[in-house]
């Protein structure tokens, strides 16, 4: 045994073990996030339970089993242990999501397994997704139209009618929403522009009576439009308020749920496997395409996806030329002198400077200094309200462009160094100038490497949060940075970001428990994007290496 130790074998195995630990950690982490993120979309069964109470009675609850854990008996209050007649050292308890937020103090409750006297999953239990107050669990007993019951539970085509009415309400809501977000928003935007125009004319001393009259006329026109839209909006809302649902909740009381709040009604206990799969994908679709609700703790993440993508694209446009030019300089032009060495040290340091420092720099330099100056020169009419002198998507993109510059440089340079020098020499020998060689021969050949660098930069930027918290990201942006109002791209606007969304929902939201699955789902989405981008980059790079290896021979 001693001899065996002396061969060093155990130590080799220990080093091997640390590789295994790393692998287990990475893969385990990704699988866990994936599992937790995706299981959020799977329709879970609704339980109806009778739970024994301390006063001898029982409590009736309806809800989803959200989580379960095993706790040592010693951590529970003594009275509860006696009530539950626990003899083992540990016991399972369930976290139940019981919804119905307006009727209970907390929409989550812990239930000890041994206190449950009855547990069933009846098929007629419905989960009603609502635009306010979260989910509602109960039995739908009737549908009313303007206060009159038109169908009751048990009627032949009750569910068809239910779904039809829900669809109608959702559609009306969508129309109202669309009206609000496009037509009315654009009228508001135009009004704001008119006010700025007036202010601008005033500052330039060109506010003639004619101009005043023109502005007034425009404003009246807009106001008329607004009134028309407003009437339409009220009409739509009124229509949506026509129907209500009568639902019997966990207390056995019949309560009304107004239909215009209902987003979806499901009977998960009554779903077959394929129905569940369908529902799963439908939920994922909703998640990526809908706006968040209830302070980001419910609904989708569409604005965050949009914001992330838009910012990253903007960043790519900025970072690519700079990164490529710097790499070309370092590899093709730079001599072996101290400036080159300094630039290399600068590249390494740009890669190593903590991202928050970029955030601080971006806030001070880009936002306050550059942005503030831009405002004074180009947007004096809006002052003292800042236009570019406040955090926004443009500054975020610029800040992240500096942050990711080294990634593009390093990757491009690697690509350049893999191009055999015979190609350069051949081109030069045929009479091409150095620039022509680079432009026509080298850069096209290095383009996959540039692509790799760009992909890696995008992946890095998509996951970066700390600097963005200072230079432009917000928890909830009322308007996307791109819309139908001229000039269509609003680079001064603040935006939402997936990474920040995770931080915000996970740590700043009022109801962390309810939001947690959403955070896992968002994390999974972000990881999928980033891992996907990285894998693409890696495969492009490997492919490239193979290609050049064959060129060398």
């Amino acid at each position: 045994m001693k001899k065996w130790f002396r061969t060093g074998k155990p130590w080799i195995w220990l080093t091997a073990g640390s590789v295994s630990i790393s692998l287990v950690a990475v893969i385990g982490l990704v699988i866990m996030i994936g599992w937790r993120g995706l299981s959020f979309f799977w329709p879970s069964a609704i339980h109806e339970m009778d739970v024994k109470q301390a006063d001898g009675g029982t409590k009736h609850i309806i809800g989803e089993i959200y989580d379960s854990e095993i706790v040592p008996t010693t951590r529970l209050p003594q009275s509860m242990v006696e009530l539950a007649e626990i003899e083992s050292e540990t016991i399972t308890r369930y976290l139940m999501k019981i919804g119905n937020r307006e009727y209970v103090p907390l929409d989550f409750t812990w239930v000890l397994e041994s206190l449950v006297t009855e547990d069933t999953t009846p098929a007629d239990l419905a989960v009603i997704e609502r635009s306010k107050d979260g989910n509602f669990y109960g039995r739908i007993t009737a549908i009313t139209e303007q206060g009159n019951v038109i169908a009751r539970q048990g009627d032949a085509d009750f569910r068809e009618l239910l779904f039809e009415r829900v669809e109608r309400a959702v559609e009306l809501n969508e129309q109202a929403m669309g009206l609000q977000e496009s037509e009315i928003a654009s009228v508001n935007y135009a009004m704001g522009e008119l006010e700025l125009e007036r202010r601008r004319l005033q500052l330039e001393d060109e506010l003639t009576d004619q101009a005043v009259a023109y502005l007034q006329e425009q404003r009246e026109k807009l106001q008329q439009d607004y009134q028309v839209y407003e009437e339409q909006l009220f009409d739509l809302r009124e229509q949506a308020q026509r129907d209500t649902l009568l639902v019997k909740d966990f207390r056995g009381e019949e309560v009304t749920v107004p239909m215009y709040r209902v987003l979806d009604v499901n009977f998960p206990n009554d779903m077959g496997f394929f129905a569940k799969v369908g529902h799963f994908f439908q939920q994922i679709g909703k998640f990526v395409s809908e706006d968040p609700r209830e302070a980001n703790t419910e609904g989708g993440v569409f604005p965050a996806i949009f914001g992330t993508v838009f910012m990253v694209l903007l960043m790519s446009v900025i970072v690519t030329p700079f990164g490529v030019v710097a790499a070309v300089y370092l590899h093709e032009y730079a001599g072996k002198n101290s400036i080159t060495k300094l630039i290399r040290i600068a590249v390494i340091n740009l890669a190593g400077v903590p991202s928050i420092v970029y955030g601080v720099f971006g806030l001070g330099f880009f936002v306050y200094m550059v942005g503030g100056s831009l405002d004074q020169v180009f947007y004096p009419e809006a002052l003292p309200n800042p236009t570019f002198g406040t955090p926004g998507v443009l500054w975020s993109a610029v800040t992240l462009a500096i942050l990711t510059l080294p990634v593009v440089i390093v990757s491009t340079e690697e690509g350049l160094s893999r191009i055999p020098s015979t190609l350069r020499e051949g081109s030069l020998a045929l009479g091409a100038t150095k620039w022509e060689t680079i432009w026509r021969i080298i850069i096209p050949m290095a383009s996959p490497a540039i692509m790799t660098g760009l992909i890696l930069a995008v992946a890095r930027a998509a996951g970066e949060v700390a600097p963005l918290m200072l230079v432009g990201v917000v928890k909830s942006a009322p308007m996307l940075p791109v819309d139908g109002n001229f000039p269509y791209f609003h680079l001064d606007r603040k935006f939402m970001h997936l990474g920040f969304h995770i931080y915000d929902v996970g740590f700043q939201s009022p109801n962390v428990e309810a939001a947690r699955p959403l955070v896992y789902a968002t994390s999974f989405l972000l990881i999928t994007v980033i891992v996907g981008l990285n894998l693409t980059a890696i495969s492009v790079r490997n492919h490239l290496r193979e290609k050049y290896r064959s060129l060398e021979h």
């Binding site: 640390s18 630039i343 400077v353 903590p354 100038t433 890696i538």
Partner: protein
């Protein structure tokens, strides 16, 4: 032919021009990288730099006022357009400070006589914040005056067109108690010395009568519910003292009166009902400081300033001790020559002293900063007052009045204040404290970067403790022992690990790992022991395996073989955790740690941060170290093996030694990353700025501090600049580590290429 060659020539010329143009363009682009780094460096420095500047005074205006006998006090409003002075003769005069519209500087705008000159026996003023002045009369009465200013923006035909409204400030005054003098002494003795304060409703007067008798008169304000009229009910107390009273001050909360008789300072407490009790007698350090000559209150009214005939000014404040809170000598300032008058600022702990030699001194107490000394107007300074925003200084000099622009934005910040212990008001001892904001107005920000720098180092240290062994061991194995086919899969996996957004790691650490660690603490300790031993056990078992199985899975694939072992042991650790907890920690590890070991336990602690941030740092260390080990020339290791060394001997004696600079640089890079990491620390700790290595407590790091406080700091304030300083420190930290690492790596690369 000729034309063709000419054409070719010109075409060539354009091509050459383009070539040269491109060369310059690309060179400029390359240098841009350097410029970007320098820009960050210098911009951060540019923002930070003003906090270390000393005070500068710039003369704005100079004017003369009608001659007056003796000026008791001067003051001005916050726009520094109008000033006022109280004369000993009982007169208040408002005057213009600058030429504006029809007003000329020095023009008297309003004046009022409050009492006959021969009836006035004393004068007192409140702290600048309360802005009230009192004349004490020789019949035991007092007149309280408050100068006031009306600010209006009258709209005229000319202003509405341009949207620029002229601001007009007009002075007025208010005599308290509906213009009637207040009776301070029922026996109508002359008020020889007077002190006065108000908390808005109540008023507290302290006066010396008959030389050595202290009179404390407390007016309690009562509002009539029906009419809303306020009636003042006086409460008289008389305390005879042994010798003549020199100075009296009253705190604005109306709870304390301090009386100085030569070198003794008595502290009297006033209860809410108005009862007076003597609390304390300050032990003067006469030998050290010299004879006391005056006594003043500092803004915030927690500190007393005493002037001494040696030219020193000493600061005293209450310090919690065994016998409750007691006044204690804190620190001293040297004005060079005996101080005749002290003026304090409205909100900050800055004070201005006038010396016998006519010099003005500006000090800041907490930062112990000596900000200015000299005669700004080149003549002796007689009276001085600062405006509420501390932007202007009004000075009465021997030759007239002058108005100065004061540039004193950040008196509270000094280099020593940031990095050394500072004794803040009300603290038992000097300490490193970071506390940037609070709800109250007279709160003093405490900017010590020591606790958050400490937090940064603590977080980085725990992360490295976790990451260095795993990262380096994994790198060595992957580069040296692993079979190429496995390596092809392992390297990208680790690269993916590096790409995982830290916000996700932070979120998992805070919401998943932290509760898990809390619930299964013994399990986590068990992992530390179980996994290494089980790995060695596995190795031993494998070495006993029949050769035909062993040869199928050689050492190069051991890490794949060990994955199930790691998983199993991890699972086992969690399973036995409650059991260990029962046996060793009485069923609750957390309670055991808190009660038995006396160690504070936070849910979001350094252990969690160490694991999560270690996870983020492992790939950095791994990939650089792996590169270094992998590129050790093969002939070195082959030679060693050929000479009969075992693979392990070759590794430790040859390969690692050769690659050691690369490994060092990997650790440096990892450290750089750990130091600057923001989101993980932000989410996985409680962000409390404490200084303690305890692994079960959290910390606050420089980066998390910036992320938390930057959005709410006011642009240009000391707080804003200090946060930039924190960023600058981080920048320098990482610059240092990265540059060393890169330098070492370059050297190594050269060494390999020569081998």
């Amino acid at each position: 032919m000729a034309t063709q060659s000419a054409q070719q020539l010109s075409a060539n010329r354009t091509r050459l021009f383009k070539d040269r143009f491109a060369r310059y363009g690309v060179t400029a682009g390359g240098i841009m990288v350097l410029v970007a780094l320098l820009l960050i460096f210098f911009y951060l420095l540019y923002v930070v730099q003003p906090i270390f500047e000393s005070v500068s005074l710039k003369k704005v205006n100079e004017f003369n006022l009608p001659q007056a006998q003796q000026v008791e006090a001067v003051g001005m409003e916050e726009q520094a357009e109008i000033g006022y002075r109280f004369l000993q003769s009982g007169k208040l005069e408002f005057f213009a400070l600058i030429d504006k519209n029809e007003r000329q500087a020095g023009e008297i705008l309003l004046s009022e006589q409050f009492a006959d000159a021969d009836k006035i026996s004393s004068f007192a003023k409140t702290l600048p914040v309360n802005k009230q002045y009192v004349y004490g009369l020789n019949d035991g009465k007092a007149v309280v005056v408050e100068p006031k200013f009306n600010v209006t923006f009258p709209e005229t035909a000319s202003t509405s067109a341009t949207d620029r409204v002229e601001r007009i400030i007009t002075p007025r005054f208010e005599v308290k108690n509906d213009g009637q003098p207040l009776v301070i002494d029922e026996q109508q003795r002359a008020l020889q010395k007077l002190a006065y304060e108000t908390d808005g409703d109540g008023m507290l007067f302290a006066a010396a009568v008959d030389g050595s008798t202290l009179l404390i008169t407390h007016f309690v304000a009562e509002e009539n519910f029906m009419t809303g009229a306020v009636t003042l009910t006086p409460n008289y107390t008389e305390i005879p003292l042994n010798s003549a009273i020199d100075d009296i001050v009253v705190t604005p909360d109306l709870r304390q009166v301090m009386v100085r008789r030569e070198n003794r300072v008595h502290i009297f407490d006033i209860s809410i009902s108005g009862e007076v009790s003597e609390r304390d007698l300050l032990p003067m350090r006469k030998g050290e400081l010299g004879n006391a000559t005056g006594m003043y209150l500092l803004a915030g009214a927690s500190s007393i300033l005493l002037t001494h005939d040696t030219g020193l000014v000493s600061q005293w404040f209450e310090v919690p001790g065994d016998e409750g809170r007691q006044y204690q000598y804190i620190r001293q300032f040297d004005a060079g020559s005996p101080v005749t008058d002290v003026e304090v600022e409205y909100y900050r702990r800055t004070f201005y002293t006038l010396s016998e030699n006519g010099e003005l001194n500006i000090f800041h107490t907490t930062s112990e900063a000596d900000l200015y000394q000299g005669k700004p107007a080149e003549v002796d300074v007689e009276r001085v007052m600062v405006d509420p925003r501390a932007n202007y200084l009004l000075m009465k000099t021997a030759s007239g009045y002058s108005l100065f622009d004061v540039d004193n934005e950040h008196p509270e910040v000094t280099w020593s204040g940031i990095w050394q212990e500072v004794w803040y008001e009300g603290y038992p001892e000097p300490d490193y404290t970071w506390q940037s904001t609070s709800g109250s107005d007279d709160f003093e920000s405490k900017f010590s970067l020591v606790p958050i720098s400490f937090g940064t180092i603590k977080a980085a240290a725990y992360a490295m403790l976790f990451a260095v062994p795993i990262g380096l061991a994994a790198a060595v194995y992957t580069a040296y022992f692993m079979s190429p086919s496995v390596r092809k899969f392992v390297k990208p996996t680790v690269e993916i690990m590096e790409a995982l957004p830290t916000v996700i790691l932070g979120f998992l650490a805070g919401l998943w790992l932290a509760p898990l660690v809390e619930a299964y603490l013994p399990g986590f300790i068990a992992i530390l022991i179980l996994i290494p031993t089980s790995i060695i056990a596995m190795a031993a078992i494998w070495s006993q395996m029949p050769t035909n199985i062993k040869s199928k899975v050689n050492d190069g694939r051991a890490s794949l073989l060990l994955i199930p072992v790691v998983l199993l042991m991890g699972w086992l650790s969690f399973e036995i955790s409650p059991w260990i907890e029962q046996v060793l920690f009485d069923g609750d590890a957390r309670r055991f740690i808190t009660n038995e070991l006396g160690v504070t336990f936070d849910q979001r602690n350094s252990l969690v941060v160490g694991i999560a941030m270690g996870f983020a740092v492992i790939p950095t260390i791994f990939s650089i170290a792996e590169d270094a080990v992998f590129s050790v020339p093969k002939h070195l290791s082959n030679g060693s093996l050929a000479l009969g060394a075992t693979p392990w001997q070759t590794l430790t004696k040859v390969v690692l030694l050769t690659a050691s600079p690369g490994i060092f640089s990997a650790v440096m890079m990892g450290l750089g990353r750990a130091v600057g990491e923001t989101m993980i620390v932000l989410m996985a700790t409680g962000n409390t700025p404490i200084m303690d290595w305890n692994i079960f407590e959290g910390m606050r790091t420089l980066s998390a501090n910036i992320a938390v406080e930057m959005p709410e700091s006011e642009v240009g304030s000391s707080h804003y600049r200090i946060l930039f300083l924190a960023a600058f420190v981080l920048f320098i930290f990482t610059f240092f580590f990265n540059t060393i690492a890169e330098f070492v790596r370059q050297r190594l690369r050269d060494k390999y290429s020569s081998m």
